[in-house]
């Protein structure tokens, strides 16, 4: 089905709830994972897959699709949760997450998963590939867009800035970057690992159209995606999303070391209960 006809009767907040729920259920399979990131980015993924992007759930390679690149491959659990909700990955595969022979390995790889456009894992690759895809789409006179999700930690990688510079040079108005600023990377808060602020000023100085939004406020995320799509200048577009690690599950939000979360057996039920509570609130 073309997403232009996809059930818009389902509110985006409900989509985000289901994406979070899928991610927690997958986390439970392995007892651990990048759950905090999945919860923080669920709203952005809901907007991407149920508001912004064109795709066909039964044909992940449909030429007319918008491309979604997951540069931060360790967020795979979040993308799988969205791909399951979008019907691109069958729901019954959820329980195979991270298992032998699964199409859903713990780090995202293109050859494994329908709807996965690139292999991440090594950080800072996505925007460079996106530049090539955006150039390729223009060569084909395609009006499709390439969305690329990457993390604030990836701003440490020089290749990200190479890509940022070149996207402006080539006026890639079909490239929409999304930075997840959750201020959390492997060794601690991103801002302490390597200072990257003022990010908006830097990106604007590099020639991008930049918006900074609360990535967990559905209405402003929708507006930002719309503005990124409709912006008239021939510039690449960046949406800087400030997000909350563990969003929707208060005891995970409060956890100090939440880059890679291990959750005790009884806590998965608590996490699902917390999501349910937020859903009905």
């Amino acid at each position: 089905m073309d997403t232009t006809q996809l059930g818009h009767n389902v509110p985006l907040t409900e989509r985000a709830y289901r994406i979070r729920r899928n991610a927690v259920l997958m986390g439970e399979v392995q007892g651990q994972g990048y759950i905090g990131q999945a919860l923080d980015i669920a709203d952005v993924l809901a907007v991407s897959y149920f508001h912004a992007m064109r795709y066909r759930q039964e044909d992940p390679h449909w030429e007319g699709r918008d491309r979604f690149l997951l540069s931060n491959g360790h967020y795979a659990i979040a993308l799988y949760a969205a791909l399951i909700e979008a019907g691109i990955v069958p729901a019954e595969e959820l329980e195979t997450y991270g298992s032998d022979d699964s199409r859903l390995p713990m780090s995202g790889m293109a050859a494994y998963t329908p709807g996965m456009e690139m292999s991440g894992g090594s950080l800072g690759l996505g925007l460079s590939i996106a530049v090539g895809i955006a150039l390729g789409l223009k060569r084909k006179a395609s009006d499709n867009r390439v969305y690329t999700l990457f993390s604030d930690g990836e701003l440490d990688e020089g290749s990200v800035w190479e890509a940022i510079m070149s996207a402006a040079h080539y006026k890639l108005d079909n490239l929409i970057g999304i930075v997840d600023v959750n201020n959390q990377q492997a060794d601690g808060p991103s801002t302490q690992v390597m200072a990257f602020e003022p990010l908006v000023d830097k990106l604007e100085a590099f020639g991008w159209f930049v918006q900074r939004v609360d990535g967990n406020d559905m209405d402003v995320v929708v507006a930002a995606f719309d503005a990124a799509r409709d912006h008239p200048e021939p510039k690449p577009r960046m949406i800087v999303c400030d997000t909350k690690m563990g969003k929707g599950v208060p005891f995970l939000e409060a956890r100090e070391k939440n880059h890679f979360i291990r959750v005790d057996a009884h806590e998965w039920k608590l996490a699902l209960d917390a999501l349910d509570a937020g859903r009905t609130a």
């Binding site: 790889m109 293109a110 050859a111 456009e117 690139m118 292999s119 894992g121 090594s122 800072g124 690759l125 925007l127 460079s128 590939i129 996106a130 530049v131 090539g132 895809i133 955006a134 150039l135 390729g136 789409l137 060569r139 084909k140 020089g158 290749s159 190479e162 890509a163 510079m165 070149s166 040079h169 080539y170």
Partner: protein, 342 residues
């Protein structure tokens, strides 16, 4: 980036004057009086691109020094200048291949193999993208010092799954290798000889075939297995040793991976010949060790096995002929070595 202070001055100088000693980045690999052909890669790519609209060219601020400027001039709308950014260069090539195009990417061999290795590995090879990487200054073809001497590129590239690795000998071979690269679906790394490139193999009824080793001449005493410019040297060595009644066979192996093990085993299995592998590369992890492994795995033991190649050390800066003598890969040095081993 320094300019090319090529040793063109040497050609005009009187014979009495000593050869110009230069450690220039771009030094000619052609011997004095040797036949050459200009920019064979650039012209072959232009020719191929006429029939293949999906071909695009990308470089990282080295179009003029990789002969890609010939393509860029002929097809300005199909050329992407990515700036001095090799990671981006490889990632963007992957993205263009993702959209169905066939990128030909150029830079220097050191930058593709060392600086952008992870990007070649992850964005191109791991996803088996149809990207062709052509890299100038392979092995010891620059006197500029270790920053520009790609002594390890074959070892790095052949260790990478999915990657096809080519080390062509001359202009004739490059012209044929370019369409062969395009005919192969998947990533290819080719060592690129640029500028005025020697012309040798057209005299040997030779045709490049991807994955095939070819015997260029036969001989009863020594079998030289070689790739790249070392095949040119091996042929000169064979002629020189003819005078001493030493028969030297030359097996040219332009495809380092996949290796033509069948032909190598057939030639090396002929009894009584010393096997010498000659490569413009460190003796670690290149053609020599690939051949040695092939022979050992098959239980083929020649009467003697020797390697001619670059030592496991950071190479000196200096004039190329000086360095080739120093490291034993000049024709004269090879003659001396082989005579000593006989």
């Amino acid at each position: 980036m320094s300019t090319a202070t090529a040793s063109a001055a040497t050609t005009a100088s009187a014979a009495a004057k000593p050869r110009l000693k230069t450690s220039a980045m771009i030094a000619s690999i052609a011997g004095e009086g040797q036949r050459t052909k200009p920019a064979p890669f650039g012209h072959a790519l232009v020719e191929l691109a006429k029939a293949r609209p999906e071909i695009v060219g990308l470089t990282a601020d080295l179009a003029k020094y990789t002969d890609l400027h010939i393509f860029a001039q002929a097809n300005p709308d199909r050329f992407y200048q990515m700036g001095m950014a090799e990671q981006l260069l490889m990632g963007a090539a992957s993205g263009l291949a993702h959209e169905g195009f066939m990128p030909f990417v150029t830079t220097y061999a050191v930058f593709a193999s060392r600086r952008a290795y992870d990007f070649v590995h992850q964005t191109i090879a791991e996803e088996n993208r149809n990207v062709k990487i052509a890299c100038a200054l392979p092995g010891l073809t620059s006197g500029y010092g270790p920053s520009h001497q790609a002594a390890e590129d074959l070892a790095l590239m052949r260790a990478m799954p999915n990657m096809v690795v080519i080390d062509p000998c001359d202009a004739h071979e490059i012209e044929q290798a370019v369409p062969a690269m395009a005919a192969h679906q998947g990533p290819v790394y080719m060592r690129l000889l640029r500028g005025n490139v020697p012309l040798v193999l057209d005299e040997y009824d030779y045709t490049f075939e991807l994955g095939k080793a070819k015997r260029l001449r036969d001989g009863a005493d020594v079998l030289v297995i070689s790739s790249g410019i070392m095949t040119m040297r091996a042929l000169e060595v064979a002629k020189a040793l003819e005078a001493d009644k030493v028969g030297v066979a030359v097996l040219h192996v332009p495809t380092i991976k996949p290796l033509d093990t069948e032909t190598i085993l057939a030639e090396a299995g002929r009894s009584g010949r010393m096997v010498v592998v000659a490569e413009n590369h460190t003796v670690i992890g290149g053609l020599g060790e690939a051949v040695a492994g092939t022979l050992l795995r098959a239980g083929v033991v020649p009467s003697a096995f020797r390697q001619i190649g670059l030592p496991d050390e950071f190479l000196k800066a200096g004039a190329l002929p000086t360095l080739h003598d120093l490291y034993g890969i000049s024709t004269d040095a090879m003659v001396t070595s082989i005579k000593g081993w006989l």
